[in-house]
Structure formats: C-alpha cells, structure tokens
Amino acid sequence: MDKIQLGEFIKSLASDLEIKEGKQYLEVTVPPSMLYQLARQLREKEEAQFDFLFCLSGVDYGSDLGVVYHLRSTIYDHVVVLKTRTSDREHPQLDSVADIWLTANFHEREVFDLLGIKFKNHPDLRRLFLDNSWGFPLRKDYVDDINIVYK
C-alpha cells in the first residue's frame, strides 16, 4: 500500500483521526482514548501488520505532552507515525502498548522517566535512568539552575 491507500485504510479503522501526509511518513494523530485500540488493530489487521515499533518518543509540545510512535511493517515495508497528546500536565496518562510491541516496555519507561507520562497497564513502570526525587528533565518547564546554563 502506498501512503494514500494506507491513509484511507487507517481512516476506516477508527473515527476521530487526523491524517496528514508528512514529508517522509504518513502521520496519524489519535486521541488518547482511541490509541490502544488503533494500535492493536494496526498490529493485527492482515492488511497492516505493523509489527515493528522502531521508535517511541515522548515530546513536550508546550501546552500538551505527547508520544510519537513510529511503526513499520516488516512484511509490507510501509511506515506510519502515530501521534497522541494529552493536555493534562499534572497527571498525564496514556495507554501502554507494551503488550502489543514488547520493545515499548523499555521505551515507555524512558518516556515516563524523562517526561513524567504515566502509562496505564504497563507491566513494570519504574524510572529508568534517574532516581525518584528527580524532576522530569525533558519537559520544557524543567528548571535546573546548577546543570543548565541559561543564555
């Protein structure tokens, strides 16, 4: 499937999607409530078979916190980028995809560690790099007077 067909196909899987043809990959923005369901369908549908989650990144968009999933199918070699965001900066919570792609286990822990996004149903959600007293350094409002030089 090329990008357009893939976009049509994904549109048929769930409502409320915002599909954009990016410069490189097809980008799909999903509301957090739909995320898990869509992810599972993308993994399991015969036509999609996105079995390789090659990048999972947490992003601080300023007002929102978001997670970007880069998915690839090793069978059809097509790529889709899933994006989801939540505006709750105090207690951000998203669904975990760790049971769909096992690699998400570590990646979600990293996102939790650095951005403070909690993942529901994650098997082992602990901080990965930093200790518990640390803030969430990848957030834009993170302040560290000692280690960061402000120009």
Partner: protein
C-alpha cells in the same frame, strides 16, 4: 509451652540475588544487572541503567545542529562516525541539499571502516568474555590499524567527528586510499586467523550453540536490530531497505541467519566484516573528484517540521528524530538507539541459562552502555 512457629519464606526471599555491575568485567561499562539465581541458573535479570546518563537529548535542545554532531560521538563511541552521519543526513534531508558524490563515497567508506573496527573490538571482547584472553589482543592489534587510518584523516582516533552538515570537516589525507587498500589486503589474510582461534574451537561451539535463542517474532517485537536481529532472521539492514549515502551503488549481501543463538550472532558479525571489506573495495578506487563539503549558511536553521533518519550502525538501527520549530536549535531530538532495544531483550533470552551463558549472551548482544543511557 510456646508453640514454635515454623518460618517459611516465600520463594522471592530465598533467591540468591547478585549484582553484576556497575563495575563488573563483563558488562563492558557501567551496566548493572540484578541477577536472581537458583544455583548457577539465572531466574531473571533486571537491567538497571542510567549510571552515565548525560541527558544528551536535553542538551541538544539548547545547541545548534553542527554542535549536536559532537554529542552523538559520545553516544555509541565505538561507531561514532555512523552516529555523526545520521544527524548530518537528517539535517541535509531537511534542508534539501544535494550532496556531491565524493562526500557520499567517503562517508560510506568511513562508515564501513567504523563497522569493521567496531566488530573487531566486539570480537576481542567476546573472546575475553568467554575466557579466551588471547582474542582480545588479536582484535585490538588489528583495530589499531584502522584507528591509525582515522587519525591520519580525521585527527581523532575513536571520537572522530568527521562529518558535518553539508559534507565533511576536511578532505581525506593523500595516503588514505593507499592505506585503506593495504589494510584490506592485510585483513583479508588475518580474518581467517580469527576463525582458527575461536570459531573452530570445540569449547567455543559448546559454549555458544543453542544458547540464548531469539526467535524472529521476538526479535521484531523487541525491536532487536543489527547483526543481533539478523542472526534471528529479521531482515533489518537499513543499508538495504532505505539506502543512504553510497549504499545504493555497491553490491553486498545482507547477512541473514535463522538460528538466532549466540553462535549465529557471532557468525553474523564475522560475515559482516567480510561484507564490509567488499564494500570498501568496491568504492576505494572510485572516489570521485569534487568538493569535500557543500557551502552552508553560517547559521543552520531547519524548516519547521519533523524529520526522521535511520542509519545502520555497527549494532543496529539508529534513528534520529528531529522536531524543528524553525530555530537554530532543534525543538526536540530523539535518538532511537539500537542498544537500548537490544538490552531489553536480555531478560527474555538469558533467563533459564547459567551465569556463564549470561555473560556469553551479553557479549553477543554487543551492548555499548553510553548509547543506552544517552
């Protein structure tokens, strides 16, 4: 008379837990593995990372694109050149710059040399992990020759920082082609020696065959890439699937094995060394003339948007994800490091084996800790 209470402890408390690392000879750095044992058998492994977490992703947000290059060196310091290339390619793609062939070819040769020296170092350390100390010296002896070539051209030996957005830092040294050719001639004779020392050894076969099996499905699900993934039959060579630089003009095989055990991972890397030499040989005589760098604006600003670039480092797929808001600093940089995903599979494949096997499996995954911690 008081009734004596029979104290029973749950299984978890009876576990014999040892800390492998952060200062342990076989974790190659400051990886800490919390290993619960039952006798010699490994029940489960919990990796604890972050001892050298340096916040490279956060740092990148406050520096310019040419500066990022120098941080990427420090991630996977054994394949520094390929990390540089990933960022450069991403910036060039975003700016839509045409890169002259000369740069592409030199980058490819340097990448393959980097891969070669990385695999040599891996072979050396893997032999040492299994107790064959002599391997270490053989591997490092040959690696030194590549580092000398690097030193002559790049000025640095390991942390080269030879790439910059728009090309290379400087032109290749006049001796470069001759020395690379000499090295390839030399190493083609030496590589069979590696096989004689380790590959054919009965003890080595006993120690590596059938140990730490990783199926193709698991490799894909865990995102295990590079020689480790390819040893399980997961075709994940970015050089083939999304060719960059000059990889589309050279002939080479993607090394695929199906066994997925430690031995397959070992053989996959040895075969990759042969393939790397093939690639270099195809290119070294045909370096086109031209400039070694494209004239760039003094301040590089990426247009607003998101850019993703994948390259194949010596350990797997490195992804650089840049979100730009149009400034001279990136808004967000994410490095999808191959070692991070490769580490996550360790518990899955090593539990149930013995401690000695854990060391062998850890060695065959070829983990570089700064790349995990970033």
């Amino acid at each position: 008379m008081e009734e004596k209470e029979i104290i029973t402890t749950p299984d978890e408390e009876q576990e014999y837990v040892i800390n492998m690392g952060p200062q342990h000879p076989s974790t190659h750095g400051v990886l800490r593995l919390l290993v619960s044992l039952k006798g010699e058998k490994v029940k489960s492994i919990q990796p604890h990372v972050g001892y050298i977490h340096s916040g490279i992703e956060k740092m990148c947000e406050s520096i310019t694109y040419p500066q990022i290059i120098h941080l990427t060196d420090r991630m996977d310091y054994i394949s520094a050149h390929i990390n540089n290339e990933a960022v450069c390619l991403n910036v060039e793609k975003a700016l839509e710059i045409d890169i002259p062939d000369r740069i592409k070819v030199i980058r490819t040769i340097m990448s393959e040399l980097t891969r070669l020296q990385s695999h040599q170092l891996w072979w050396a350390c893997f032999g040492m992990d299994l107790g064959g100390l002599t391997c270490f010296f053989y591997g490092l002896r040959d690696r030194e020759k590549i580092l000398d070539i690097f030193e002559e051209t790049c000025g640095g030996r390991m942390i080269v920082s030879y790439n910059c957005p728009g090309g290379l830092m400087y032109d290749i040294h006049p001796n470069f082609q001759k020395r690379v050719k000499d090295f390839i001639k030399y190493f083609r004779k030496i590589l069979p020696e590696y096989d004689q020392l380790l590959t054919g050894n009965v003890i080595f076969h006993e120690r590596s065959r059938g140990i730490g099996k990783l199926t193709k499905e698991d490799a894909i699900s865990f995102g295990v890439t590079g020689p480790t993934g390819r040893a399980s039959g997961f075709s994940c060579d970015v050089r083939k699937h999304e060719p960059y630089s000059a990889y589309d003009r050279v002939q080479f095989k993607e090394i695929l094995h199906t066994e997925g055990d430690t031995f397959a991972r070992y053989i996959a890397r040895i075969d990759e060394m042969w393939e790397s030499m093939n690639i270099i040989e195809q290119l070294i005589d045909n370096i086109p003339e031209g400039p070694f760098a494209v004239k760039m604006k003094p301040v590089i600003k990426l247009p607003e948007g998101e850019y993703y670039q994948r390259v194949e480092t010596a350990r797997g797929e490195l992804g650089v994800y840049i979100i730009s808001d149009g400034n001279k600093n990136p808004y967000r940089v994410k490095f999808r490091s191959p070692n991070f995903s490769n580490l996550s599979v360790l518990n899955h494949i090593a539990s149930g084996f013995k401690i000695a096997d854990l060391v062998a499996i850890g060695g065959s995954l070829d983990l570089i800790i700064p790349d995990i911690d970033r």
